[in-house]
Symmetry: C2
Subunit: 147 residues, 2 copies
C-alpha cells in the first residue's frame, strides 16, 4: 500500500481501512462502559432483587464515586433510571441492551471454550473481546459452536 511522499498530495486517502477500523474501535470503546453497566445491573437485579451503587462498584472493580458519575451519564443517555439513595433500574432501552450483551457474552465465552481455552481465561478474554464482535463475527462464532 503506497502512501504518497510528503510532496505529493494523496488523491485518495491511503490507510483508509485502518483509519476506519480504528475510528470504529474508538466508537465502540465509548459504549463499552454502558454495556458493562447495564449487564451488571441486570444481573444484580435478578440475583439480589435490586442493584445498588456499592454492589455495582464491587462488581465492576471501581469506586462508588465512579459508579455514581457513570450512572448520571447512563441516565442522560436513557439506559437507566436513578433516584438519590434508591435502587437503580434499567429502562426498556437498558434492558434491551443488557439482553443483547448477555447473549453475546455467552456465545463468545462458549466459543473460546470450544477452542480449548480454559474457563477463567475464556472469561477474561471474552470481557475484552465481546464489545468488538460484530454481528457477522458473532454469527460465525455461533455457527462454529453448532457443528
Amino acid at each position: 500500500m503506497k502512501t504518497p511522499t510528503r510532496s505529493a498530495k494523496p488523491a485518495v486517502r491511503p490507510s483508509a481501512l485502518q483509519a476506519e477500523s480504528l475510528q470504529h474501535t474508538r466508537r465502540e470503546h465509548a459504549s463499552e462502559t454502558a454495556e458493562d453497566y447495564v449487564e451488571a445491573i441486570a444481573d444484580l437485579s435478578a440475583s439480589q432483587g435490586e442493584a445498588r451503587v456499592v454492589d455495582l462498584a464491587r462488581r465492576l472493580g471501581v469506586t462508588h464515586v465512579t459508579v455514581n458519575r457513570t450512572l448520571a451519564r447512563l441516565q442522560r443517555e436513557g439506559y437507566v433510571s436513578v433516584r438519590p439513595y434508591r435502587a437503580i433500574f434499567l429502562t426498556d432501552s437498558g434492558r434491551k441492551l443488557a439482553a443483547e450483551c448477555h447473549h453475546r457474552h455467552g456465545i463468545v465465552v462458549a466459543f473460546l471454550q470450544s477452542l480449548g481455552i480454559p474457563e477463567k481465561a475464556a472469561e477474561i478474554d471474552a470481557e475484552g473481546i465481546e464489545h468488538h464482535v460484530s454481528p457477522v463475527t458473532l454469527a460465525a462464532f455461533a455457527k462454529h459452536l453448532n457443528r
Copy 2:
C-alpha cells in the same frame, strides 16, 4: 487504576472474577494506543523509509495534534524517539512491541477469515479484538488455523 478497598463482605460472589476481568480490560485499553502507534510507525518506516506526524495522523484517523501529544507520551514510556520537525523512530522496545502486534494481528485476521468472515469485516473486528487476545487464546487461534 487501583482496586478500591471494600469492607469485608461475606459472600465472595463471581463478581470477583468479573471485576478482575474488567480491570484487566481497562489496563489493556491503556496500552492499545501504544500498540496502534508503534505498529503504524513500523509500517510507515518500512514502506516509506520514515514515519512522519501527518502520515500517522492519516493512518490512525486522528488529527496531527493528537498524534503529537501521544508521541510525547510514548517517548516518555520509552517506545519512540522524537525530535521536533524530524521523523519518528522506534526504540528497541518499540520495535519489539510492534513486531508482537503485527504477528498477533495477522493471526487474528487469518483466524476470523478462516471462520468465513469476509476480509473487510475481519479487519475491522480484528482491530478491536486483537488487543484483548491473550497468549493462550492466540495459541488456540493459531492451532485452529493449522488444522
